[in-house]
């Protein structure tokens, strides 16, 4: 309470230079972010309709197969965009030393944990009736699990270091090493054993056209959701950084 009053008073007395950038980076609402949010919600609803009602029931597996659309979409986001953005922004940060890249990498890693968790939870639910076991040490399963550990380790590292350039450097180094590691993990476990069905093979796999469409809609919807959440999270972090800076300037005066 006392802090709030001090802040209010300091804010009232502050020179305009401190508070003038009200509409700057990370401030206020923005039409395109809202539009992105609305379209991702619509896309998710549409994907749900396609996956749960419209798509034909799989002949052998039955309704449990419908999980597959979200499982694959989440797995794609975890392995592709989430980790790709972490690695790319890590490289960009080390190159440009702009903390904004660090904030994007961190937001993407958080989403990576979320999508990897969705993948790891939906997989066993489907696998129990189909394979007869919740888990097998298959390359894709094991790689996803290792990926989850790498994402979590990345966030643990971040939480152990104070915000700033040092944290950005250390987590960027770990993000890059982890990203290079994942394909090697996959290859190593692939040689070890595999039973996972290959859905999208180069010959087209064994997917009916309706199911394929549903899958692509689900992937698109999840990707939109990822983009929206990433933007929101990065703006949040931008605001937090700005708030810190303003607070710092006000207290220093």
């Amino acid at each position: 309470m006392a802090e709030e009053q001090t802040l209010k008073r300091a804010f009232a007395e502050a020179p305009p230079s401190v508070i003038e950038r009200r509409g700057g980076r990370g401030g206020g609402r923005s039409l395109w972010v809202d539009a992105l949010g609305a379209s991702s919600i619509l896309a998710i609803l549409f994907a749900l309709y396609l996956a749960l009602i419209w798509a034909p029931t799989e002949a052998v597996m039955g309704d449990i197969q419908r999980l597959f659309y979200f499982h694959v979409a989440a797995a794609w986001l975890a392995l592709g965009p989430s980790f790709g953005v972490v690695a790319a922004c890590s490289v960009l940060y080390l190159w440009k030393k702009d903390l904004r890249f660090d904030r994007i990498a961190s937001a993407s890693a958080e989403l990576g944990v979320m999508f990897t968790t969705i993948t790891l939870v939906t997989g066993p639910i489907w696998a129990r009736p189909i394979w007869g076991a919740y888990w097998t040490w298959d390359p894709r399963l094991t790689t996803t699990l290792v990926l989850w550990f790498i994402f979590v380790a990345y966030l643990m590292l971040r939480s152990a270091v104070d915000a700033g350039h040092k944290r950005a450097r250390l987590s960027a180094v770990f993000g890059i090493v982890g990203w290079i590691d994942v394909p090697i993990v996959f290859m190593s476990i692939r040689w070890w054993r595999t039973i996972h069905p290959t859905v999208i093979a180069s010959e087209g796999g064994g997917l009916a056209p309706d199911m394929r469409l549903t899958l692509f809609v689900a992937i698109g919807a999840f990707t939109l959701l990822y983009a929206y959440l990433l933007v929101v999270r990065v703006r949040q972090e931008d605001l937090a950084t700005r708030l810190d800076r303003v607070r710092h300037q006000l207290y220093l005066r």
Binding site: L94, F149, I150, M156, F174, M187
Partner: protein, 225 residues
Amino acid sequence: MGFLGQAWTIAWKDILGELRTREMVFSMLLFGFLVILIFNFGIEPGLRDEALVKPGVLWSAFVFAGILGLNRSFSSEKENDCLQGLLLCPVDRAVIYLGKFLGNFVFVLAMSLAVLLFFSVLYNVDVIAVLPGLLAILGLATVGFSAVGTLFSAVSVGIKTRDVLLAILLFPVLVPVILAAAKSSAFVMNGEGLFAGGSWLAMLVVYDVVFLAVSVMLFDYVLEE
């Protein structure tokens, strides 16, 4: 003095310090022995696939004991601001990395050899007959382990929870090394020879080359002050 000479000087500094204090290798060693001992209670004697379990026990011991050494690698430099002195050396950062890497490599390899001996007696594995193959695998795996381990040891050095953090950072990234080393040493222990698991050996080599190169490049950013 050449590049390697400079790196060796830094490594020798660590090795000499260890020879005089003997504080790290012995604790690593004892810990490795203990892992071997504890695993023994988890494995039912006369298990049908006992032969398949043994390489796993060995590699668990190496990894768990090895990480103790990595923990000390950079934190020992914190005392008396040695790290500052190291960074002030008029050498490339890559040299510092290679020096620390060489030191860790020597420590982990020395520990592994002793643990291997202990393992061979307690688990009735005749390692003498298959020693050249095992040594090759051990060497390759230790390069990969120390390459990433040295980098992450430097990453975690200034952090309060560094001991447990290092394990959390390192283990997921080490999965290919552990898998490839355990698999190829299973081939060797079964008497099928080193090259029966040829693709696993290739994986170890690829991992070593990739992560040594990446670590040398990234190390510059880790200790930037």
